[in-house]
């Protein structure tokens, strides 16, 4: 039935998620780290939709809607925190902002 097997979509999703993980590990600008987190969320969304189509269920797309809502809330609060940190410390380099590090 499927022209493109679901496994291909899952492999693409795994690769995109891995690129996001590597980005979180190597970047020091928290805004770019947030972008990498968005990339990871989108990779997971692709998995949900691929499985939803594979099993002919609407549930995968429902989950994606909630993931998008949570991502929007997360970005709003996260960028607010970044602006607040920049205002108090004049830098947002994640290696400089280490007050919570033991």
């Amino acid at each position: 039935m499927l022209a493109v097997p679901t496994e291909y979509y899952l492999a693409l999703s795994a690769i995109l998620f891995t690129i996001g993980v590597i980005g979180v590990l190597i970047k020091r600008n928290p805004i770019v780290i947030f972008m990498c987190i968005e990339l990871m969320l989108n990779a997971v969304n692709l998995t949900f939709i691929a499985f939803g189509r594979h099993f002919a269920q609407i549930n995968g797309q429902m989950y994606v809607i909630f993931v998008m809502a949570v991502a929007a809330a997360e970005v709003t609060v996260g960028l607010g925190i970044i602006v607040a940190v920049f205002r108090t410390k004049d830098t947002i380099d994640v290696d400089e902002v280490n007050l919570l590090k033991f």
């Binding site: 493109v4 979509y9 980005g23 190597i26 805004i31 189509r53 609407i58 429902m62 929007a72 809330a73």
Partner: protein, 170 residues
């Protein structure tokens, strides 16, 4: 034909993701991320999720990326103020750890087989339309109505939190 189309879109999305991570200028990273979102929306269309594809463009490529670019411009962290990147061993170690992570994901995926897809042509035609999504979302017999209402509280909390963080003196 469809496999070739998927291959091109998948290659471009991986390429844009890699360029996003490699780029030193955060504004260019944001633009590559927008390209990645658009390509993923195309993939959602091939997976019979028309409504999700439209929402992906509107919410991610529209709203969230505008927020990112707005903060980047507000803090003037463009090309001239690019943070110096980590040198030495850290990127190498990160890439090795990432490849190990990818290998473990592949190993987890190789345990079982999915079997043939169960989507009928009828489902592909109607599975992801606005009507199907809305009917499922607001059907009291399905478990999605309560999470939908809770989402409104989550967004309200996010709005209040953003205002509290942005104010100088609360």
């Amino acid at each position: 034909m469809q496999a070739a189309f998927f291959g091109v879109i998948a290659f471009l999305s991986i390429l844009s993701a890699i360029l996003m991570v490699m780029n030193r200028n955060p504004v260019r990273s944001a633009l590559f991320l927008v390209a990645n979102f658009a390509l993923l929306a195309v993939l959602y269309l091939t997976l019979a999720a028309q409504f999700i594809a439209a929402v992906e463009i509107i919410v991610y490529a529209g709203a969230i990326m505008v927020l990112f670019l707005f903060v980047l411009m507000l803090l003037s962290l463009g090309a001239s103020h690019a943070l110096r990147e980590r040198g030495g061993l850290q990127p190498l170690v990160a890439i090795i750890l990432g490849l190990i992570f990818l290998a473990s994901l592949s190993a987890a995926g190789a345990i079982g087989t999915l079997g043939p897809g169960q989507a009928t042509p009828q489902w592909v035609k109607n599975g992801g339309t606005v009507k199907a999504i809305g009917t499922a979302l607001f059907d009291p017999r399905l478990p999605w109505l309560f999470p939908f209402e809770v989402t409104s509280i989550l967004l309200l909390v996010a709005v209040v939190g953003a205002i509290v963080l942005a104010k100088r003196r609360v």
